[in-house]
């Protein structure tokens, strides 16, 4: 007899964005209760650091009362390889599953960041994936409508929604040619995840990328498309956006330079994706310089492709806005969106070079709880506090890489 599958919805985070985390966990509870014939048993796990728990213990106690399993990673918990950051918490959850006998083929783990809200479509998509895909790991498209405000960082996130189509294709192709993966909104069979683990030597800024590399190295192309959206929110300030992208770049560089399980071909594809991103800032610089310098006949060749790259980037914004607009109350006009998008894109262009000249930080904290002031909606808070969290696609959707 086939065992009825169990899905553990696991929110792994530092836990300081309690408002976002609370909504994330409750969205699972709500839709699990309101989606009939779901096809799986479920549990909600929240895995947080001690400093996150003490931010507002009442929220965590309330979640417990609602049926959520709250796990606080012990401060003295050490993995065999001594990994730090989010990977440490993820490994702790693996150990818990092993301890409870949940590392089996009938248990699946759906990974959420602390701001990852699920909808009915997410749950139905997970059920569909488990039943029909025949794959071991599935990732899907993420939208960014939660707490949306017309600011550059939020407009820039739209391009990531459309870029997820590229990520899904790349992920399901042998070798993942354009290096796409998510740190959230993916479901993986528990025995696969717990067998691979998240433990690496030292701090891995992009534990999701290293995880994907190891799964692919061990099991091959076992990645599928997860139907249903997840709903997240972007950073509230350009400074936080820059820090977030910096962490991605550090993760890519870590994988390329120091990760042992990487085949030569895979290392090349990841390095090339990074090079594409790095080429964005020089491209803009060369474009501006072209006003003063005349480059000569090479332009006949480059101009041919330039139009395609420009249009591809613009398409990323237009289609990203269209994908998200169904879930947004109202959006500003296209002209305003254009300028907001330019500002957001400049941050993404600058990020890889900024990452090169700044050290890897384990203390980046991206605030996802909006500051609500009387008479105003959500106000962008200034990031202050340490420690990093969420990880997403490694290469931004649209990086101005060419004039």
């Amino acid at each position: 007899m086939r065992p009825f599958p169990t899905v553990i919805f696991q929110v792994t985070a530092i836990g300081k964005n309690v408002e976002a985390l609370d909504a994330s966990a409750r969205s699972v509870l709500y839709w699990a209760r309101n989606t009939p014939l779901l096809g799986f048993r479920y549990a909600v796990w929240v895995v947080v650091e001690p400093e996150g728990y003490v931010t507002d213990p009442s929220v965590y106690e309330s979640l417990k009362a609602s049926g959520v399993q709250v796990w606080v990673v012990p401060a003295d918990y050490r993995t065999p390889l001594g990994t730090r950051g989010k990977a440490r918490a993820l490994q702790y959850a693996c150990d818990l599953r092993a301890r409870f006998g949940l590392s089996s083929s009938d248990v699946w783990v759906y990974h959420q960041d602390e701001e990852t809200i699920v909808g009915q479509d997410t749950l139905v998509g997970i059920a569909d994936f488990i039943e029909r895909s025949g794959k071991l790991l599935g990732a899907g498209i993420i939208l960014y409508p939660v707490d949306w405000t017309p600011i550059p960082t939020h407009v820039q996130e739209f391009t990531r929604s459309y870029d997820d189509l590229r990520v899904l294709d790349s992920l399901t192709m042998p070798g993942n040619p354009t290096a796409g993966f998510h740190g959230s909104h993916f479901v993986v069979r528990a025995d696969v995840e717990d067998g691979i683990g998240w433990d690496v030597s030292g701090y891995s800024p992009a534990e999701d990328l290293t995880f994907e590399i190891r799964v692919r190295a061990r099991f091959g192309s076992v990645f599928g498309v997860l139907k249903g959206f997840a709903y997240e929110k972007g950073a509230f300030t350009m400074r936080e956006q820059l820090r977030q992208r910096r962490r991605w770049v550090h993760g890519i560089l870590f994988a390329v330079r120091r990760f042992p399980n990487l085949s030569r071909r895979r290392r090349f594809t990841i390095a090339y994706s990074a090079a594409s991103w790095f080429s964005a800032l020089p491209s803009v610089t060369v474009l501006v310089a072209s006003v003063f310098l005349h480059y000569g006949p090479l332009l006949y060749f480059t101009s041919f492709f330039t139009g395609f790259i420009w249009i591809s980037m613009i398409t990323g914004y237009v289609e990203g806005i269209r994908l998200n607009s169904t879930y947004l109350g109202s959006t500003p006009g296209y002209l305003r969106m254009f300028f907001l998008g330019i500002a957001g894109a400049l941050v993404d262009v600058t990020a890889p070079w900024y990452a090169l000249v700044t050290p890897t930080s384990t203390h980046d904290f991206i605030r996802k709880d909006p500051v609500r002031l009387p008479g105003r909606a959500a106000v962008s808070p200034r990031a202050a506090v340490p420690v990093s969290r969420s990880l997403r696609g490694r290469v931004p959707a649209a990086t101005p890489a060419s004039p």
Binding site: R99, G101, S103, L165, G307
Partner: protein, 324 residues
Amino acid sequence: MHSSRTVWFYPRVMDARSSMERYSPGAPPGVAPAPVGSPPPPRSRPVTSSRNDPDRSSAEPEEPEPSRPEDDPLVLDEIDRIISELSTKRGDRAAPESPPARDGSIRGDGVAYWGRDERGTAPSGFFEEHLEAARRAVGHVHETVGELQSTSEQLRQRLASVETELDRITREFQFVQERSNAPGPTVPEASTVPPWSEEDLIPPSPRQPVDSSDIFSGSFTAIRAAAADSPAPVYETFTVDRYNRTIDSLKDSRTKLVAWTLLLSAAVGIVLVLVVLYSPVVNPPVWIAALPLVWVVPIPYFLLSFRGTHRVLERNHLNLPEAK
């Protein structure tokens, strides 16, 4: 506190003309009042029978339906019945023999025999008071009946809700049963058989006795209470239907998107080439002339992205089955 029996046993001589007239609007002019001190006349007609009086109804235009409960014919009939029963019970003690009706004391509205006699006195000063009390009581009864109706309606709705939930439970149960009896895990198509085997996966750790309530301790009551507390969070609108509409919109525009991307790309490319053509010809140093090569670096990446994006839309239908 007065009881209703005083209507019958303690007739008083007092001026109650105005109040009595208020209850006998249909009294014909010139009718002689009842004599002072006379006992209450027998009730030859019900106190509230005016609406059932065929003479009256034929002679006067039909009045609109009463809005007050105490004007309701059924209610008035009920008062008549109560009064009648009371009079029967007490007749043995106080009025063994009903006094004959006085001429002229019976008026069309059936209340006149409580009116004044020829000396200008009324048989009972308590009648109006107790009639008013009876009306209030009837009003209260009417309200109570209304509340009962409302409660029974709520009860009916809740019963319907219970039936719905039971139906859902049955469907869930059947669904779980079918799934549990289904054959083993889905095997991928032959061409896409994954290169892993079950042996590659880690063996499950030795199971330790775990209190299942420790792991899956979510109580429905608590969950529902928590959900009820929150003021309609945004995720409640994230439905399968909305998802399918968004995906349909994206997929419907795919062909158009490809066409426009290629068309506009070509247009921009041609314009740029024209700009180069009509620019002054110069021979820059090699290191400057080579700078545009940086624009070439991401071209394969963008081509792969374009192909991948449309391939995933083409191969995957992405739509979800509607939630039941």
